[in-house]
């Protein structure tokens, strides 16, 4: 794969300048053979991404946090990105892998545009392509450590789906990743319907993002919502939700159970 070749060239360069600890390479003429290591754990991670279809298109939401383990290291990470004219991709998991995926998709879009005809890549095409990318990486035991949400509208057809780091992909009317699977999907199942307006859809997503902020330790109260319709992709500026912390139970949490927290 071409994106690997570029990584290889960089590694060879580093090898020639004394190993810096990055993933070493097999055919080194200068240094002795060192075992190849692959992605075993993510470092800078993004948490849940939520997506729903609504009457006029697709809504996808995510916060802007990049956690470094248990610490919230980066607070302005854009985890929702437009691809081409009709599609948006949102990522959970290792942010550096997401950036590589964005480069790969960028290359795909540009190569496609260079044909200079009226054919454009729609959400289903990009979804399938992404799945191939993720699956092929997983087969090398070196996955892109991401779960991706892929949504868009083309020729009146609304499309929403997921791709996991194992190379599993599926479509649905509402999707979630990470903690969103456990906290948001049940709410979607109860409250989602096909003819939601933009306001209703936004409210539903904000409700779920609020639950996630309360309960997911890697979430922050700074989120973006993307709205994809036939007219294109619009991603909101980051904004915060109204939270409520003055519950009576919080004021005296250990009443009746002294010693606990």
């Amino acid at each position: 794969m071409r994106w690997e070749e570029e990584g290889m060239k960089q590694n060879a360069f580093i090898m020639g300048n004394k190993l810096m600890g990055s993933s070493p390479h097999v055919f080194s003429l200068i240094m002795p053979s060192i075992p190849i290591t692959h992605t075993q754990t993510p470092y800078v991670t993004g948490t849940s991404v939520l997506g729903i279809k609504y009457k006029d298109g697709v809504l996808i939401a995510a916060d802007t946090a990049g956690s470094y383990g248990s610490t919230t290291r980066y607070k302005s990470v854009e985890r929702l990105r437009p691809i081409g004219q009709n599609t948006l991709v949102g990522a959970t998991g290792e942010m550096s892998d997401f950036q590589t995926i964005l480069q790969i998709l960028d290359r795909l879009i540009i190569t496609n545009a260079m044909f200079d005809d009226d054919n454009t890549l729609g959400p289903p095409d990009i979804h399938s392509y992404l799945n191939r990318v993720m699956y092929n990486q997983r087969n090398k035991l070196d996955p892109f450590w991401n779960t991706l949400v892929l949504g868009g509208v083309k020729n009146g057809v609304k499309y929403l789906g997921n791709v996991t780091m194992l190379g599993l992909h599926y479509v649905d009317d509402h999707v979630a990743t990470g903690f969103g699977i456990h906290l948001a999907q049940p709410i979607f199942r109860n409250e989602w319907n096909e003819d939601m307006t933009l306001e209703q859809g936004t409210k539903l997503l904000e409700k779920c993002m609020l639950v996630l902020f309360y309960r997911d330790r890697s979430a922050i109260n700074k989120m973006q919502i993307a709205n994809i319709t036939e007219d294109g992709v619009k991603i909101s500026e980051p904004y915060a939700l109204q939270t409520k912390w003055d519950y009576e139970a919080f004021s005296n949490p250990t009443v009746g159970n002294e010693g606990s927290w």
């Binding site: 044909f115 005809d117 009226d118 054919n119 729609g122 289903p124 095409d125 979804h127 399938s128 392509y129």
Partner: protein, 282 residues
């Protein structure tokens, strides 16, 4: 075309700025038996004149299905055409595997054209000696393209290539303005008639002619001989009436319509439920 001293290599320019080898390759296309294509808003029809090398042999296969939504007709060195169709099938299936959607026919045509161009710029290669008429569908509807050995391609409303294609082209030029609004049956009839023009003296039968159709929501399919024969027969009956119409001076459009109403069970009806070929290829 006459021999000259600049035609030995495909990589040698003549002083007049021509690549003679490429032009000779296009000659090979002109020597092959005719292939015809025409399209409407909903369908594309390909038709070929099939030559049998001897009375004992089966006729040559010149219509190839590339994918459900793309097919080709070839004229020239059919061996080269087979190789190109294998490449085209491979590209279509690869695209489908990666993107889970059909390869737009315009894309495929450009890829074939680029492949053909390579052969015009390598000293160890020779140009493909086959011209292709590519019929296919994409997002924007049905399309008909021609691929040349030179690496050029162009889109057509209707076209014919191969030997005696000029007769077919003349017929198509007369009628092409009506093609966009034609039904599938009308389009096929035009194609068969164009083949007949190319055959001139020879008797048209399902043995020496081949027809294929692709349309919106209709996969590419080569018509079986029985269906083809019934189209050919309907042409025979229609032709007599057409001649009388032309003699009385009505224009072509009207003559087609009048044939529906005026001539009872032997007229060229368009799907009007008599013995004309309405049940199509399966």
């Amino acid at each position: 075309m006459f021999r000259n001293q600049y035609d030995t290599d495909v990589t040698t320019w003549s002083p007049a700025g021509r690549l003679h080898q490429v032009e000779y390759a296009m000659e090979a296309v002109k020597q092959g038996s005719a292939a015809i294509g025409l399209r409407s808003k909903t369908h594309v029809v390909l038709a070929t004149v099939n030559k049998a090398s001897s009375e004992l042999s089966a006729h040559q296969k010149k219509l190839f299905k590339i994918d459900n939504h793309i097919g080709i007709a070839m004229a020239g060195l059919t061996a080269d055409g087979r190789v190109l169709s294998r490449y085209m099938r491979s590209e279509c299936i690869n695209h489908h595997f990666v993107f889970e959607s059909p390869l737009p026919v315009g894309r495929l045509v450009v890829q074939v054209a680029d492949k053909a161009q390579v052969c015009t710029q390598r000293s160890w290669k020779r140009p493909y000696g086959v011209g292709l008429l590519v019929a296919g569908l994409d997002e924007t509807g049905p399309h008909l393209y021609q691929n040349c050995p030179s690496g050029n391609y162009s889109e057509y409303q209707a076209f014919a290539i191969g030997s005696r294609s000029q007769a077919a082209k003349t017929y198509l030029e007369r009628k092409f303005e009506t093609f966009m609004e034609c039904t599938k049956e009308e389009l096929i009839r035009h194609a068969v008639f164009a083949v007949k023009e190319s055959l001139q003296e020879e008797e048209l039968s399902s043995g020496n002619c081949g027809v294929a159709v692709v349309g919106i929501d209709e996969p590419f399919v080569v018509l079986d001989p029985k269906t083809l024969q019934s189209y050919i027969e309907s042409l025979e009956t229609g032709k007599e009436e057409q001649q009388t119409m032309e003699e009385t001076g009505t224009d072509d459009r009207q003559s087609l319509q009048v044939q529906h109403e005026g001539t009872g069970s032997r007229g060229i009806s368009v799907g009007a439920g008599d013995d004309s070929p309405t049940d199509m290829e399966t």
